[in-house]
């Protein structure tokens, strides 16, 4: 099984080699499709054999010797409850993305699919790596193909968009790299006989504890990188831009997979390593998340371009995920994890659908459409399901995630304020407003433009690539436990351990030694008194 995991990660690179020798565009498309389908097929045993009762222990682990001499940087990959679903989502979307680009990409076909394959390997590596440096390497690796995807095959304003995307992400991740190296040395001194170590399993464990002052800085450095990637308001400005200019396939991968690296990083690294900072900063982050939810929704409402509207709706939806994560209770975090998948499916589907209509009409302006439902009924059905899923209609996947997240936010002890949930809920209502309004303007009403009368309905390829996505949208909506079971145990363990670690770190700090800002931020004296009171009882 370990081999299978590695094969899944690197199989797409095989296509890269093949592209060097194949010059025929059609052959290239078929190779890409076959390789991504194979990748998905190979990854299936990973989920069927997954032991969800022990999901907190990484499974299928491959571990190598040190990659860099003197620094204990290892090649460690494996899957656990946090990463399994995202990993599977990535392999699942592979063939769908290839199919979506089948006819719409006409220039430099080989290079296009080569970039997609590289992106696939990079994304799979991000979710599978259990070493922080390895995670960083894959994290950065995904930037290059996306940079070219937007830059070469993107829209009119692609160059500015892709540079903005690249530099934004790079600044965040480089600062994270500094923090990461610091953690490596610090952990080495604390738990590994002075040898640099970045093995996640050690760093997240209860032995390695970081003092409050360092935790603050490290948390800020790590979370900055992830907030930019998510993107959390106010770091979101690159996203609508990149999304609008990216080709359909790029948008789908960006929305479904790459944005998740941010939220995934927050829960995998920040929570177990910096529990105190996580708790103390939670209300502030939740505030930004709620602002993002409402702001994203309001801006989406006034968009004239369908793709931009979907892009801003991403800002809003990712706000929910962050809100759920920082509720820091089982139900909220579970909701966030399932919402990551949901957003990947529903927003991915929306981008696919927008791409299909763009291929036909070469415009995405809402005002250019109207009354399409009568002309292209099959398209209308798929578009409607994706729209409802994005709104969070009960019975479809979006509802499950948002409901759990809002429940979590209501009951969260960390946030301790129901207004987060109340304002967050308005995001659901606003989503209905902007999505349904857009849907109505595009699909219903009289046909205003002559060109719209002769649009062809979806062909077999397009139906074929949307149907699997729709199946999962409904499946998650009806039986969410089939999916949440994988992470449930791990989330419980993670939260428990984090709470325990947090108290241990607090107990071992001496308030007199801390600078006054840290005392104020962590309310050390009050918390310590409380903790000691609990222990005496």
């Amino acid at each position: 099984m370990e081999t299978l995991l590695n094969i899944t990660i690197y199989l797409p690179l095989l296509a890269l080699v093949a592209f060097m020798f194949v010059k025929n565009d059609n052959a290239i498309r078929w190779i890409a499709l076959i390789v991504t389908s194979l990748t998905f097929a190979v990854s299936l045993p990973l989920i069927f054999n997954f032991d969800s009762a022990n999901s907190h222990i990484a499974q299928y682990v491959t571990e190598s010797g040190p990659l860099l001499f003197g620094l204990d940087v290892n090649y460690i990959v494996g899957l656990d409850g946090l990463s399994l679903l995202l990993f599977m989502l990535t392999t699942f979307l592979g063939p769908i993305v290839v199919l979506s680009a089948w006819t719409s990409v006409k220039k430099h076909v080989g290079a296009f699919f080569a970039m997609l394959m590289l992106l696939q390997t990079g994304s799979l590596g991000v979710f599978a790596s259990l070493d922080l440096i390895l995670f960083y390497i894959f994290f950065e690796l995904t930037l290059i193909p996306m940079y070219f995807l937007i830059g070469i095959w993107g829209g009119a304003d692609r160059i500015a968009a892709t540079i903005k995307f690249f530099i934004y992400t790079l600044v965040g991740s480089l600062i994270m790299l500094v923090a990461l190296v610091y953690v490596g040395f610090d952990a080495g001194n604390a738990v590994n006989d002075g040898v640099f170590i970045t093995d996640w399993r050690v760093l997240s464990g209860p032995e390695y504890q970081i003092g409050l002052v360092e935790q603050t800085w490290l948390f800020l450095a790590f979370s900055l990188a992830f907030f930019i990637k998510v993107p959390l308001f106010p770091f979101h400005t690159w996203l609508p831009y990149a999304h609008t200019e990216a080709p359909t396939a790029g948008s789908v991968v960006l929305a479904a997979v790459m944005l998740k690296m941010g939220t995934y990083g927050l829960i995998r690294f920040c929570l177990p390593m910096f529990p105190n900072a996580m708790v103390e900063f939670a209300p502030y982050v939740a505030l930004l998340a709620v602002i993002g939810i409402i702001y994203g929704a309001l801006v989406a409402m006034v968009q004239k371009d369908v793709k931009k509207l979907v892009a801003y709706s991403s800002v809003s939806h990712l706000g929910f995920v962050v809100l759920g994560l920082f509720a820091l209770n089982t139900i909220g975090v579970q909701g966030a994890i399932i919402q990551m998948i949901n957003h990947g499916l529903s927003t991915g589907a929306l981008f696919l659908i927008v791409g299909m209509i763009y291929d036909r009409r070469h415009t995405r302006q809402i005002s250019d459409f109207g009354g399409l439902a009568g002309v292209i009924p099959v398209f209308a059905v798929f578009f409607m399901i994706a729209t409802f899923s994005s709104i969070g209609l009960p019975g479809l996947n979006g509802f499950v995630g948002e409901f759990l997240i809002l429940m979590g936010a209501f009951t969260s002890e960390t946030l301790d304020n129901i207004w987060f949930a109340i304002f967050g809920t308005t995001g659901v209502i606003l989503a209905a407003v902007y999505m349904l309004w857009m849907f109505q303007r595009v699909m219903f009403g009289p046909i205003k433009h002559e060109e719209n009368k002769n649009i062809k309905d979806l062909n077999a390829r397009e139906i074929g690539l949307l149907v699997p996505v729709m199946i999962f949208i409904v499946w998650i909506g009806i039986r969410p436990t089939h999916f949440t079971q994988f992470s449930e145990h791990q989330v419980n363990v993670l939260l428990e351990e984090a709470a325990q670690k947090k108290n241990e770190i607090l107990m071992s700090t001496n308030p007199a030694e801390l600078p006054s800002w840290a005392n104020k931020l962590y309310k050390v004296e009050i918390n310590l008194a409380e903790l000691k009171g609990d222990n005496n009882e």
């Binding site: 010797g65 040190p66 990659l67 860099l68 001499f69 003197g70 620094l71 430099h108 440096i133 960083y136 390497i137 950065e140 690796l141 930037l143 290059i144 940079y147 070219f148 830059g151 070469i152 692609r158 160059i159 892709t162 540079i163 690249f166 530099i167 790079l170 600044v171 480089l174 600062i175 790299l177 500094v178 190296v181 610091y182 490596g184 040395f185 640099f196």
Partner: protein
């Protein structure tokens, strides 16, 4: 017999020196330029094989009555220098024919320059350092102006010469003062001195100024952009990699062996110069429209990263610096090689970034190669440039220089802008005028591919080479008793 043994351990330098003399004679007897080139390559290939052998197996020791060292860093420096020269000569031959200035004098000059670099990188005595530095520099002055009828080239040669001579003065003065303070020019004997007198510090600072000039650290960098832009492109590649490698290896040796006492106390000086070098190099590179000049400023910035490792001053720092030199040589020779290829298809003014529009699709291999080298220079994983930066910054974090590292990574993020800008023109823009590109010679593209593959290899599997380098600093590796 000892002299014979010493010579055997000094074989790469000896081969290159003899080769230089031979090709000089051949030029005197009006041999064909192609034959001279082949002879040069023959000698260099021999030297490369032996340098590789020495890198792996040579024992640590001193040669020629403690004047030079063998093994460890010396073997490493020799290897990079010979390796860099080997590829430079391949690229230079083709380039000079392409720009129609095929002067055979370039080969003996390159060979003598390489001898100087090897002497510099293997030195164990300040006098040897001086000899190496001068042999290298004088050849470089001539090489910079090798295209005699190009005004920019001659100007750059003269500028380089005048400023270089000035820095040599500093260097000699520094040696004199250090001799006055410590009574020796041997590195280890100077290292035993721990009494910080005024004369000692004067000597140290003079020495450092000279080295900062040679490696073009800010504020001693003024000559670099002009000289790098004016020189023939492949010679620029050579200057920015091999000569820098030799000078920095020597600097590492001097800091590690001769000035351990001073090295502990000049951390903040090093850090400030590193910050200035990184910030200036990267910011000025951002506004350059000439690709060659952009690479010149970028090479200044890379010296800044190297200085971060030196500022850390730990074993990990020195290991990082040596690894970085290897990675930097690979990617920088490669990048200049592709630039030279584009240039030789047209004329020497074909370096403006505008003229690169759409070139990536003309000869796809060359476009991909340039992208790989530039991404590596930008420090994007999984290329060698990333591991280099990572090691350097990791060493500085370990030494507690967090602020320095944060400035460094931000400068590095800024650098992504101008490296990516080249790719924007290569791939994202359409060319306005039809540009014709000749198919590159097979040996030319093959050597660039080798460099790219090595860049990738050392980026993905750096374990072996880092282990090798780290062993130089693990204590017993450097125990050279005078």
């Amino acid at each position: 017999m000892e002299i014979l043994n010493d010579l055997l351990n000094y074989l790469p330098a000896a081969i290159v020196a003899v080769g230089g003399l031979v090709v000089m004679m051949m030029d005197g007897y009006k041999a064909k330029s192609r034959l001279i080139y082949q002879t040069t390559m023959f000698f260099l290939a021999g030297a490369l094989v032996i340098a590789t052998y020495d890198l792996l197996y040579q024992e640590v020791g001193t040669l020629f009555s403690d004047m030079a060292a063998s093994g460890s860093t010396a073997a490493f420096g020799t290897f990079i220098v010979v390796f860099g020269t080997f590829f430079t000569v391949i690229l230079t031959h083709d380039y000079l024919i392409g720009v129609k200035h095929n002067y055979p004098q370039v080969y003996p000059l390159l060979m003598f320059c390489t001898v100087g670099m090897i002497v510099l990188a293997t030195a164990n005595d300040l006098v040897t350092v001086f000899i190496g530095l001068e042999t290298m520099s004088i050849s470089l002055y001539a090489l910079a102006g090798i295209i005699r009828d190009k005004q920019l080239g001659v100007e750059s040669a003269l500028k380089y010469f005048i400023l270089g001579a000035f820095s040599t003065g500093f260097f000699l003065y520094g040696i004199a003062l250090l001799y006055g303070a410590t009574g020796s020019t041997n590195l280890s004997e100077i290292g035993a001195y721990t009494d910080g007198s005024m004369i000692y510090w004067g000597g140290v600072s003079m020495l450092l100024v000279a080295f900062f000039f040679k490696i073009s650290a800010v504020p001693f960098h003024m000559w670099t952009p002009d000289v790098y832009t004016g020189s023939p492109t492949t010679i620029t590649a050579y200057m920015s990699t091999a000569s820098k490698t030799a000078a920095i290896v020597a600097l590492v040796l001097i800091l590690e062996r001769a000035l351990p006492y001073a090295a502990d106390q000049i951390t903040s000086t090093m850090a400030i110069i590193a910050i200035m070098t990184m910030v200036l190099g990267n910011t000025v590179a951002m506004v350059q429209d000439n690709v060659k000049r952009m690479l010149a400023y970028s090479s200044i910035a890379h010296v800044g990263y190297l200085l971060v490792g030196l500022a850390a001053g730990t074993d990990l720092g020195f290991t990082a610096v040596l690894y970085y030199l290897l990675a930097y040589s690979l990617m920088n020779i490669g990048a200049f090689g592709v630039v030279a290829y584009y240039e030789k298809n047209h004329d020497v003014h074909f370096n403006n970034i505008e003229s690169y529009a759409g070139l990536g699709y003309k000869q796809p291999l060359m476009g991909i190669l340039l992208s790989v080298f530039l991404l590596s220079l930008a420090g994007i994983p999984p290329l060698a440039g990333f591991i280099g930066k990572y090691l350097v910054f990791a060493a500085a974090v370990e030494a507690g220089l967090i602020n320095l590292v944060i400035i460094g990574v931000l400068a590095s993020a800024a650098s992504a802008y101008f490296y990516l800008r080249v790719m924007v023109y290569l791939y994202f823009k359409e060319s306005k005028e039809p540009v014709k590109l000749m198919k590159p010679l097979r040996v030319y593209s093959f050597s660039l591919v080798v460099l790219a593959v090595l860049t990738l290899y050392f980026g993905i599997l750096p374990a072996g080479i880092t282990e090798l380098i780290a062993s130089y600093f693990s204590g017993n590796g450097l125990a050279i008793v005078p």
